[in-house]
Symmetry: C2
Subunit: 240 residues, 2 copies
């Protein structure tokens, strides 16, 4: 049975199998070594995620289906960080509750699968101008529903929780803003990822998994690789 990696998060996870998406890149990278399982829920914040976490990762997964997942990425915060008094306010979660919810999610996963690597991913930075051109719902105020400053506070909170829990974290908010023109280079609509942004998430997740011991160098290849099949006696490779 191949190990699994679950991708748990909001729309940035749900759409991660788009062309050049970080989810498909992971699945491609681990095409013979790990199953990448998509559990992205567009619009969800950590409050809602915590309500559904037992349904997303049901206990039945533990019985009879081989090994526990090798890793789970937890990628929330972009919706929690919606400003409470703007057009997406119903998605807002106060930053202290966000931290507590993240802790509860990590703790749930660690209790269920003590060996699994939990990787937190912070929300990306926000390009407020672009958000005004792409509002999710009718925006009567004419003000962005998210700000980069708020996203930054949630990113810091995410990193703090990772530190407390002792789990790896991708600080996407800081990482992306190290590059000039991050607004256009890494974001598609001021929030969701462009192909370049997807590439960064993929590369950062790969690094964290590798640091934790999960990489092409360490994972067994499922069934004989073509290079190991003797052209003069191919069936030898398939003897059990």
């Amino acid at each position: 049975m191949r190990p699994k990696i679950y991708l748990f998060g909001d729309s940035i996870t749900e759409e991660s199998f788009c062309d050049g998406g970080w989810g498909s890149s992971l699945a491609h990278q681990f095409s013979r070594t790990m199953d990448v399982v998509l559990r992205g829920y567009s619009g969800y914040n950590t409050r809602w995620a915590l309500k559904v976490v037992e349904r997303v990762f049901p206990a039945e997964l533990d019985s009879g289906v081989g090994p526990a997942p090798a890793a789970v990425t937890v990628f929330f915060g972009a919706n929690d960080a919606c400003l409470p008094d703007r057009c997406s306010g119903f998605q807002h979660v106060p930053v202290d509750e966000y931290k507590q919810n993240l802790r509860s999610i990590v703790s749930f996963l660690e209790k269920r699968w003590p060996e699994a690597i939990v990787v937190l991913i912070s929300p990306p930075p926000i390009d407020e101008n672009a958000r005004l051109l792409h509002p999710f719902i009718e925006n009567v105020l004419g003000l962005p529903e998210r700000t980069n400053e708020a996203a930054g506070a949630y990113a810091k909170a995410c990193i703090a929780v990772a530190g407390e829990c002792g789990v790896p974290v991708v600080d996407l908010w800081t990482k992306m803003q190290q590059f000039p023109d991050w607004q256009k280079a890494y974001l598609r609509d001021g929030l969701h990822l462009s192909e370049g942004g997807n590439r960064i998430v993929f590369e950062e997740v790969i690094k964290k998994l590798k640091d934790a011991g999960l990489s092409l160098e360490t994972l067994p290849v499922d069934l004989p690789h073509i290079a190991e099949i003797d052209p003069n006696d191919p069936l030898k490779a398939f003897q059990i």
Copy 2:
């Protein structure tokens, strides 16, 4: 538990999560409804596939892990069709044995999961000129290791087996050649798929699944969709 679709095949399946790949497009299409599980084995023919089918689909999958897979795509033949006296001859399988092996694979899957939709996919056409520029192994003869004529014979055999077994089939060999410039439009190296070729496989598989009752219209969405969440009382959607 979400239904699953397994993609079982050779390199054209193994690399189906590349940018614009047909596997990632399926995973994107069904991002909230089905898990797409990759079981592609580069270089494999049906003889080797039959040797490993029980390990690819172990009996443990049946116990405790929720529903049987909703569908399995079976996409072999491109390697079986290698000419026996050319540089990839060790992958060749005679066409009669190819048919028998395909029948056995379909029969294995139908026995294990009587409700699963098995979709056969024929090998794609071959651009012999392009193959000479991209040989997989050293090509001392200077002749293509695959011909379009041979691929066509295996495609016809695949369609015949689908007819006998009463399962849907994608006739990729014929479908692709209906378009001008198929060699460059749909193939990347005379054998493997370009982004356009991946698109065709995706669209054809989607059609076959829909004909068999599996589509976004019929599959339940996993957990409440954002559009169903009442902005005035979001948590209502999460009461069980």
